[in-house]
């Protein structure tokens, strides 16, 4: 039995510790000094403290770009994990900045606290290769997100969203835990590598199949893949904008990454084969089905949405479908493509919600019809919205195009002679063409339809404009010069040897 080296454990958990302490500091500062101030001042102060903490965490992560493992995988540090963690913290900061001008709550410090706790959960989540820690950090993340979704107590929609999210989330957590417990029973270990070696070389038992399916259900819920997506439209629509942005960006990145790790590290040897002639059960066939259903359902249902947030939710389902293709091939290239995809996708989604946070406050809802003539009421925001939506649609030269290109090429490159992969990519490309329709129809409203009579110009707060502008610049820049992050991603994947 290993002796626990607490010093090393602490050393690896520095970023998480920094975030937790920052969270406590935010609450303390708010309660002790800012009770009397206006909500805006309190938001600015809390977000400022939180950002400093996040910056500290990022610096620490940059500093420890090394390889280390505690307790055989309870907590690991590889360059890859550090890179993902940095991305998560950056997305958190962007979310916090977007929330500065919010008015939906007067529990300012609690809101920031929950965001930081959720981030801590995400950092632990991606840094673990142990089922128990994965589950605990996932719960820390989820519980924080449930509360964040229901944070607007004055809005019944928000409460409804939180309740739905909680009920579906609890259910899927139960499924996942059941799957994990079966895996533990099967292999006598919660460590991913040990589970893999227990599975390896054995015929697939029914218990293992149940474990695989329930695990996929649990994670499928987190990444909003069909048919586990029922919470997504309501949460995207009902939750306060910053919470929705956080759920749609940071939590997606973390879930996609850890899902990949669990499958590739923990269930190696149980991939199975989804081709017709060599069918062999395992998690690949399950994911093929989930991916195709997500692509079809997400894109087709998105067409008929009248609310931009719901449209975004269904497009999230569709994008989850594309990204699952990377799991089907699970090579280093496809992991790189997946990370590039999910990072740029998060930027674009965050951007759309950032635009919405400004417009909703003055228009009063997120109906696509009410965005009519937005280009004349808020030209800058409309231009940014165009960048985000076209990137989501995959129009060159924006990053969404390159992400799709990279993903589909990596999938095809794995085994060019596979008809299955070819058909999956054909479905994905055809469905991207469909998605162009609903994204363009939003833009048509914004640019072409006449603005309602007597609609005043939209007042956009400077900070929101800066954040949205930076996000748009990021989407354009990463599309024009993808090597800026693609090379680091490829390097760390090779270095980490996943």
């Amino acid at each position: 039995m290993n002796v626990i080296n607490y010093g090393q454990l602490l050393g690896l958990a520095w970023p998480e510790i920094i975030l937790t302490v920052t969270a406590l500091l935010v609450v303390a500062a708010d309660i002790l000094f800012l009770r009397r101030s206006s909500i805006r001042t309190r938001f600015i102060a809390s977000v400022a403290i939180a950002s400093i903490g996040c910056a500290g965490a990022i610096l620490r992560l940059l500093h420890t770009f090394t390889q280390a493992t505690v307790l055989g995988g309870v907590l690991v540090a590889t360059p890859l994990v550090s890179l993902v963690q940095i991305a998560l913290v950056i997305l958190t900061v962007a979310t916090l900045f977007l929330s500065v001008d919010s008015t939906f709550t007067d529990h300012v410090s609690e809101f920031v606290l929950l965001v930081l706790l959720a981030t801590t959960g995400m950092l632990f989540l991606v840094a673990s290769q142990d089922l128990l820690v994965i589950f605990i950090s996932l719960e820390l993340l989820s519980l924080s997100l449930y509360i964040l979704a229901g944070f607007d107590k004055r809005s019944p929609r928000s409460s409804e969203a939180a309740l739905k999210y909680f009920l579906f989330g609890g259910m899927s957590a139960a499924f996942m835990l059941y799957g994990f417990s079966l895996l533990y029973g099967f292999s006598n270990s919660t460590n991913l590598a040990s589970i893999a070696s227990a599975i390896h070389g054995q015929p697939l038992s029914p218990i293992l199949i149940i474990a695989i399916v329930t695990t996929v259900i649990g994670f499928g819920f987190k990444i909003a893949a069909a048919p586990f997506h029922f919470w997504a439209p309501d949460v995207y629509q009902g939750a306060p904008v910053p919470s929705a942005a956080f759920i749609a960006s940071g939590s997606k990145v973390a879930s996609f990454f850890i899902f990949f790790q669990v499958l590739v590290l923990g269930l190696a040897g149980a991939e199975g084969n989804a081709t017709w002639s060599h069918f062999h059960s395992g998690w690949v066939p399950v994911l093929v089905v989930v991916a195709v259903v997500s692509m079809l359902l997400g894109n087709l249902v998105a067409i008929v949405q009248s609310s931009l947030r719901r449209l975004l939710a269904y497009s999230a389902v569709a994008h989850a479908g594309y990204m699952l293709l990377a799991y089907v091939t699970h090579t280093q290239q496809s992991l790189a493509a997946l990370l590039y995809y999910v990072a740029t996708y998060s930027l674009a989604t965050l951007g759309v919600l950032g635009v919405l946070s400004v417009t909703e406050k003055q228009i009063g809802n997120d109906k696509i019809a009410d965005l009519a003539g937005l280009s004349r009421r808020a030209p800058f925001l409309s231009a940014c919205l165009t960048v985000f939506l076209l990137s989501l649609a995959g129009i060159p030269p924006l990053s969404g195009f390159f992400a799709k290109f990279l993903l589909f090429t990596s999938v095809l490159a794995t085994n060019p002679s596979s008809h299955l992969l070819l058909w999956l990519v054909i479905v994905a490309i055809a469905m991207s063409a469909v998605s162009l329709y609903y994204y363009l129809s939003v833009l048509k409203r914004v640019f072409v339809s006449d603005k309602p009579a007597e609609a005043p110009e939209i007042q956009s707060p400077v900070l929101s404009q800066i954040v949205v502008g930076l996000l748009a610049a990021g989407v354009v820049l990463l599309g024009c010069a993808p090597d800026l992050i693609l090379t680091p991603i490829l390097n760390v994947i090779h270095a980490s040897g996943l």
Partner: protein
């Protein structure tokens, strides 16, 4: 030595113009129009500078720029032009100002309209100069978006449907092409046109692709053919060849006439350019294999579109079909050059003639079709949007100058010797006849029918009895005459002294034809 990035600059000029116009907004419509025109004239001047600096006897591409773009995927930003690219740049630079002048009377969302036109111009420039499939495809796809909105927002009553049909047809073709190129990329790990052409020349390209794909259900020949058809479909829709053409009459007739000018003058050349730059060097053996069906398609395009034009009563639809017909001659010329002739020197020189003819015809059709549609736009402006064949009659008596100048453009379209339209068609027929005799003979029928419907247009619109309504139709204003003079002058100049173009493109045409002989 760092040379000046001419081509990137040229591509960026319209983009900058579009941004300026969008920032300006539509408050001052007159200013917006003049600024847009100024940017397109500036692009024309830059192109003329390139024309002047171009070395007409050098091999390969000139004004090249090469930058690593995505090194991890071996994607480079590489641009450059040869004679063909230069000719197409010049054509685009001439056609876009014509399109702008023809859209002068547009009143709604003026700045957006002209910004989209400039953006479209940048995409067309990008397509004609890119030497790496990756950003070539980006420009190719991107050009759809401004074109889609130009047709949809400023077009006629059925424009939404026409724009959607245009988008879907072209998208399907492009996706098929993308799949083919992904397969090629997976096998070769490069998107560079020159490298791919070298691989194809040495006969390594298709075997590599076939072994990478390893589809056991197909023989290697069939797999190669499938890859070829994917790429072929993308271009055949764009040109268009006849079974893939149904989007074109709707799009051309519903689009605002200024946009139609750019669609027919510059954008339709993108498909032909793709055939010359991509399909010929990469898929020569595959094309030779299915040459007979391809020739049938070309012949059908020439003859059927001419017949279809005969049956139309809307002037824009007539010249939409006429456009298909004229590009059909180019397709005939291209397929004739593909024919395997071994080392026969006599036939090789016929190939040079046909290839030169294709280049010249591409330019001339662009110029002539743009001018003809310009006249239609002026007619629409004067008559409140009427453009039916039977709406007019006897206009010769009230608008003699209009009649005379439009007559010149129509005769150029008909291929009258002495005007520019004749040169290209003559060279194509001269070169193709010995190579593919039967196809050329049947295609000659197209010439005859073209003459019939164009003379029919002249007769119905300008001769006969004058309608009551048109007695006070105003003739061309001085400004219109002055802007038309360069276009008409160019028609005569090229008709009488074709060396103006041939001198520049001849070397490229010979190179392209020679490269094909090696298969």
């Amino acid at each position: 030595m760092i040379t000046f990035p001419w081509i990137t600059t040229l591509t960026m000029v319209p983009v900058v113009g579009a941004i300026v116009l969008l920032a300006l907004g539509s408050r001052n419509k007159v200013l917006v129009r003049w600024i847009a025109l100024a940017f397109s004239i500036f692009a024309l001047i830059l192109t003329l500078v390139l024309w002047h600096k171009f070395n007409t006897v050098a091999d390969g591409f000139q004004f090249q720029e090469l930058h690593a773009w995505v090194p991890s995927l071996n994607i480079e930003y590489r641009v450059g032009i040869d004679g063909l690219g230069l000719l197409m740049l010049l054509l685009t630079s001439i056609v876009v100002p014509i399109g702008m002048l023809a859209s002068w009377q547009i009143q709604q969302r003026v700045s957006l309209y002209f910004a989209l036109v400039l953006f479209l111009q940048a995409c067309i420039f990008g397509t004609f100069t890119a030497l790496n499939f990756f950003h070539w495809f980006i420009f190719w796809e991107l050009s759809l978006i401004p074109a889609f909105f130009l047709i949809k927002l400023w077009g006629g009553s059925k424009s939404a449907k026409a724009a959607m049909q245009f988008l879907i047809y072209t998208m399907v073709g492009s996706i098929a092409m993308l799949m083919s190129f992904l397969a090629i990329y997976l096998a070769t790990r490069t998107f560079d046109f020159t490298e791919l052409a070298h691989l194809a020349q040495s006969g390594q390209l298709m075997p590599a692709v076939v072994s990478t794909l390893g589809w056991r259900l197909f023989t290697p020949e069939h797999t190669a053919m499938l890859i070829f058809f994917g790429a072929f479909l993308g271009f055949a829709v764009k040109v268009p060849l006849i079974p893939f053409h149904t989007w074109l009459p709707a799009a051309y007739s519903e689009a605002p006439t200024g946009t139609t000018i750019i669609l027919t003058g510059a954008m339709s050349k993108m498909g032909l350019y793709g055939f010359l730059r991509i399909l010929l060097p990469l898929f020569g053996p595959q094309m030779q294999h299915v040459l007979t069906p391809l020739l049938w398609l070309a012949v059908a395009t020439v003859v059927l579109s001419a017949y279809a034009a005969l049956a139309q009563t809307d002037l824009k639809r007539i010249f939409a079909y006429s456009s298909i017909n004229h590009l059909g001659y180019c397709m005939l010329g291209i397929f004739a050059v593909v024919k395997f002739t071994g080392g026969d020197a006599g036939l090789t020189s016929e190939k040079f003639a046909a290839m030169n003819g294709v280049f010249v015809q591409m330019f001339n059709h662009g110029l002539t079709a743009a001018t003809v549609f310009w006249f239609i736009a002026m007619l629409e402006k004067r008559t409140g949007g009427l453009r039916g064949l039977h709406d007019f009659g006897g206009l010769r008596k009230v608008v003699p100058v209009f009649t005379g100048l439009m007559g010149i453009a129509l005769f150029s379209s008909l291929g009258l010797p002495g005007l520019n339209g004749f040169i290209g068609e003559f060279l194509i027929f001269k070169g193709s006849f010995p190579l593919v005799t039967w196809a050329t003979s049947i295609s000659a029928l197209g010439l005859l029918i073209t003459a019939i419907f164009i003379l029919g247009v002249l007769q119905r619109v300008f001769y006969g009895s004058l309608g009551e309504k048109w007695v006070h139709l105003p003739d061309l204003t001085l400004g219109e005459r002055l802007t038309l003079v360069p276009a008409i002058g160019l028609m005569f100049a090229l008709g009488l002294y074709p060396q103006l173009i041939l001198g520049v493109v001849n070397h490229t045409a010979i190179q392209m034809a020679l490269n094909l002989r090696n298969f």
